[in-house]
């Protein structure tokens, strides 16, 4: 009960008291002390007006207020001898107000006090009244019962009111919380969307069944379409993304990421786009969500640059090659031209033989140069993989080399997967280099070894070795330290090894010798 209601009800009580007094047995008499009571009563109400509401709501204060009301009314009845009138009814009013205004305990106390005072007043106004008189026997318990019922009822009402209010409050709080969380979630979602959208690489996320859930603008650009065209579609229904989906499916099924893959996709504009790809499975143990996220990197520009570089390299090689060819061919041409002129001027048979032999050698040399160029400039050829026995091949090669001691040892049947002619050219080039490098007691050791999937051919000479500086350029085309070297020999060696998916190692110490290790894939054991 708030302060205003209490003040108002008390004011009604004061008025009712004055009214009852006026109609009492004694009638309205100016000298009656009941006026003092009414005045005091009114003054307490004024005091109440200045008491702050918080203090007023304290049980002890409200109890005191209602107690003072009961006392004031009782005094008023006593002074006006109103017991003979219906003045007692005012007790019901105060009991009712008290029960509404405070808790059940306070109400019962007030009821007890009111009943007692009423009883006392009855005895005062009717000396010798029996306890069994209806006035006592009925009115007093009646007062008490009314007090009990009204306070019980008001407590219930208050409780209900309070719970309704609490419910409303909690509902409001809940609503606020929901709004706050929703805002937070929206903000988070926007933030992660912004992050994904700002990534310079393409991002595509799919569910386990291949439904695209997220696509960022870069991914859409690479795929040549818009984000709207991709989201919620099944990835396998999009043309050109088969390889991408296969990789993603693999990541989902194996629950393993795959990184630094290179694939090609055909985008919506039917353009083949080389793409660097990393796929990672997405699975959280707490939810049933399963999927995969792919990071794409458009490699078109990189590939274009690579192509340009290769082109530039090719041009540079072409320039070098042209110059080299010119030089290499001009010498034998001089020889051919010169000796053919001399041939016409001599009749000496011996000389004629020497001259024509020189011409023959020169033409052979030109042919050799052409062979070298062809071998070197041939683009990577699919090696016809037949089984080649290196031991037999090496015997054949070394047969025609004289003046040096050659030892062949190592595993029997060193069979490699490769092309016989290329391999012959490969080893012949290495051996020629060794032969050229050796002068004193030339010795070449060729050893075959087996290592996992490789057959290793190790060629060791006791030649002059290669300087550290020259080792760097060992396989550079047109690089030579020999006066009449083509500069292509070891470049060809490297090319043949690469064509066979092999490896090449060279170790050298100046004035001691060079070891060349050729790794070639072992032939299938069949």
């Amino acid at each position: 009960m708030n302060k205003r209601t209490i003040l108002l009800l008390r004011f009604v009580l004061i008025l009712a008291t004055i009214l009852v007094m006026a109609y009492s047995k004694r009638g309205l008499d100016i000298a009656s002390p009941s006026y003092v009571v009414a005045l005091l009563y009114f003054l307490t109400n004024l005091v109440l007006y200045f008491i702050p509401e918080t203090k007023l709501s304290r049980p002890i204060i409200t109890f005191s207020v209602f107690l003072s009301d009961i006392i004031a009314i009782s005094l008023a009845i006593y002074f006006t001898q109103g017991m003979q009138t219906d003045f007692y009814l005012i007790y019901f009013l105060i009991i009712f107000i008290a029960s509404v205004g405070q808790n059940i305990r306070g109400s019962i106390l007030i009821a007890v006090v009111a009943s007692a005072l009423y009883g006392w007043l009855l005895v005062q106004s009717n000396p010798g009244i029996s306890i069994l008189d209806s006035a006592i026997l009925i009115r007093v318990p009646f007062l008490f019962i009314v007090s009990l019922i009204s306070s019980y009822w008001s407590v219930m009402m208050r409780k209900q009111l309070r719970s309704t209010k609490e419910l409303e409050e909690s509902a409001q709080k809940l609503q606020q919380e929901v709004a706050r969380i929703t805002a937070k979630e929206t903000e988070l979602r926007r933030y992660s969307e912004t992050v994904i959208h700002s990534v310079a690489s393409g991002v595509i996320a799919v569910r386990g069944d291949g439904t695209i859930t997220t696509v960022n603008p870069e991914a859409a650009r690479v795929l040549g379409t818009t984000q709207e065209n991709l989201v919620d579609r099944k990835i396998e229904t999009i043309k050109g993304l088969d390889t991408l989906w296969q990789k993603m499916k693999k990541a989902i099924n194996t629950n393993k990421p795959f990184e630094r893959l290179q694939i090609s996709i055909i985008n919506a504009d039917d353009i083949i786009v080389p793409v660097g790809l990393s796929v990672s499975p997405m699975a959280s143990p707490d939810t049933k969500f399963k999927g995969c996220v792919a990071i794409l990197r458009d490699l078109s520009e990189v590939k274009q640059l690579e192509e340009k570089l290769k082109h530039a390299e090719r041009l540079s090689y072409l320039g070098k090659m042209a110059s080299w060819v010119a030089h290499e061919i001009r010498n034998p041409l001089t020889v051919i031209d010169g000796f053919s002129q001399l041939l016409t001027q001599t009749s000496n048979k011996e000389k004629m033989q020497t001259f024509s032999s020189e011409i023959h050698k020169a033409t052979q040399r030109i042919n050799h140069i052409i062979e070298d160029i062809l071998t070197f400039s041939r683009t990577k050829t699919q090696v016809k993989s037949s089984s080649v026995n290196l031991w037999t091949l090496m015997k054949e090669i070394t047969e025609n080399i004289s003046g040096i001691r050659i030892f062949i040892k190592g595993v029997e049947n060193p069979n490699v997967k490769g092309e016989e002619e290329s391999l012959k050219s490969l080893f012949l080039n290495i051996i020629h280099n060794s032969v050229d490098a050796m002068d004193k007691d030339p010795k070449l050791i060729i050893e075959f070894r087996e290592q996992t999937k490789w057959i290793i051919t190790e060629l060791t000479d006791n030649g002059k070795g290669i300087s550290k500086e020259d080792l760097k350029n060992l396989f550079t085309p047109f690089f030579t330290t020999k006066s009449r070297g083509t500069g292509l020999g070891l470049a060809i060696v490297k090319k043949i090894v690469d064509d066979h998916s092999g490896k090449l190692e060279v170790e050298s110490e100046e004035n001691k010798g060079t070891t060349c290790r050729v790794f070639l894939p072992k032939a299938d054991a069949s």
Binding site: N331, L333, V335
Partner: protein
Amino acid sequence: MSTYEPMENLVKESEQLRKRILVCDDEESIRLLLNEALQDTYEVVEACDGREALRLATKEHFDLIIMDIKMPSVHGLEVIERLRARNNNTPIIVCSAYREMEDDIIIKTSNVAAFMVKPIDIKVLKTKVLELIGT
């Protein structure tokens, strides 16, 4: 047999009178060719690389040097520079397969009598030699 002796002496004598040419090329066939082309008129001495050429040209007298440029051990250009530094002013004909070297050689060296680009026409070479040192 004795009748040959004066003849041999005569040859020796005439050889002493003949002009001497140093042919320097690391390719044997080229040396042989130049030797064969010039030996009728001149005394031809062969050097197989730059070092050999330097050694011979310093030790002996030559009327002309015919030299390749790209050679092992000592590069042709270096041979020319060293010879000139030693005040050896023997005329030199440079024979090279690299036409682009011509300017370089003419700028860097003095007294290069001629620059001939391979393939050399031996008739042209012979005329040039004749022009430079006579017979």
